[in-house]
Subunit: 187 residues, 2 copies
DNA sequence: GACAAATTAGGACAACCGTCCTAATTTTCA
DNA sequence: TGAAAATTAGGACGGTTGTCCTAATTTGTC
């Protein structure tokens, strides 16, 4: 029993990811949802309001995903769960890049008011990663390591979308795993 | 004595970078150049034609930059020249990301015909980096190392545009330099 | 100085954009 | 069952988009 508002948000989320925010029109979303264009304003008063809802959806989804990964006993294994979304979502990432990174980049160029809110998805990952690195005993280096892992993942996503090369993605995931092992020798 | 066509290309290059390709209109370019909108089609028959010219401009600029770096005697130092564009162009990158990466990402989402051509800028960097790593004696690992450096740089650019944190950029550049030293110990 | 070519400005064009309004329909519930 | 509320379709709106046309102006050349 998903409400029309939810359906709009879900479809907009997909379209914003696959085609970009600017390139997605009201008509595109209306067609995907199967409602008339004019009816829209009963659910959202503007396109920006839809963007806000999409960002909140992504924030909630991300938090749920992070909570699930926290079930893992070993913090190192938790971090690997994060790194491996590059493999899990490989085909989508090779086609459209990372949803977080590409939206952040687009909203930055548009100087869109929702940019800081979109970056909060990064914050969720960052905070969670800091927690894991702290648990591994990396103290004041935890934040640096968290941003490092985030950045490496973003770089892989950009190059994956440029070249569509699964071997590169796998090699970089392996390299990140090796780097993690360098940080924390498993005795 | 720059021709109108050159001026259009230069202004479009800046606007595409700072605002995005899709978000930049003919009117925006016309205003920046200082000519009427209708006059445009005497120089470019379509917006895509302007994009092609911009990409070719970037290809030429990139090649020139790589040639200049090749003057450096030590291949390791050449690679560092590449890494340090993150510092040189820091403020622009924090505002708009990497021009190569963001255009590639946008054109991928638009399924634009010019996407492969835009990726050729990456190819220039890649080929050049492969040459440097080969000169350092990394043989069959040269290509992997080249893509690794490219990816790391892209990741830094994405995160820089998200957080506008110069310290993060500097830390990542240092980390990349340290990684390079790990690869090739300087005795 | 005359004439052809290159370049220009300005506006027309159809299509689409985000937004908004209205009137009809469906749903809810006392 | 009937009235109130929620939801819907369809279209109008002003503005902007990329594209194209025409007529005027500038430029270059003999």
């Amino acid at each position: 029993m998903t409400s029309t508002r939810e359906t709009i948000t879900l479809q907009a989320d997909t379209l914003f990811y696959e085609n970009g925010f600017e390139a997605t029109s009201f008509g595109d979303i209306a067609k995907a949802v199967g409602i008339s264009r004019g009816n829209f304003y009963h659910h959202f008063k503007s396109k920006d309001a839809i963007l806000d809802a999409v960002i909140e959806l992504r924030l909630a989804r991300t938090q749920t995903m992070l909570d699930n990964w926290s079930a893992e006993a070993d913090p190192q294994e938790r971090i690997l769960s994060f790194v491996r979304i590059l493999i899990t979502n490989q085909s989508k990432i090779m086609a459209f890049g990372c949803p977080v990174g590409t939206l952040s980049s687009e909203l930055a160029k548009l100087e869109h008011a929702a940019h800081p809110r979109a970056v909060e998805v990064f914050d969720l990952f960052k905070t969670w990663l800091v927690t894991q690195f702290t648990a591994l005993g990396h103290g004041d280096k935890a934040k640096d390591h968290a941003l490092h892992v985030l950045g490496r993942s973003q770089g892989v996503a950009v190059m994956a979308a440029a070249y569509q090369d699964p071997d590169f993605v796998q090699a970089e995931v392996d390299a990140l795993e090796a780097w993690l092992n360098t940080l924390t020798p498993h005795n």
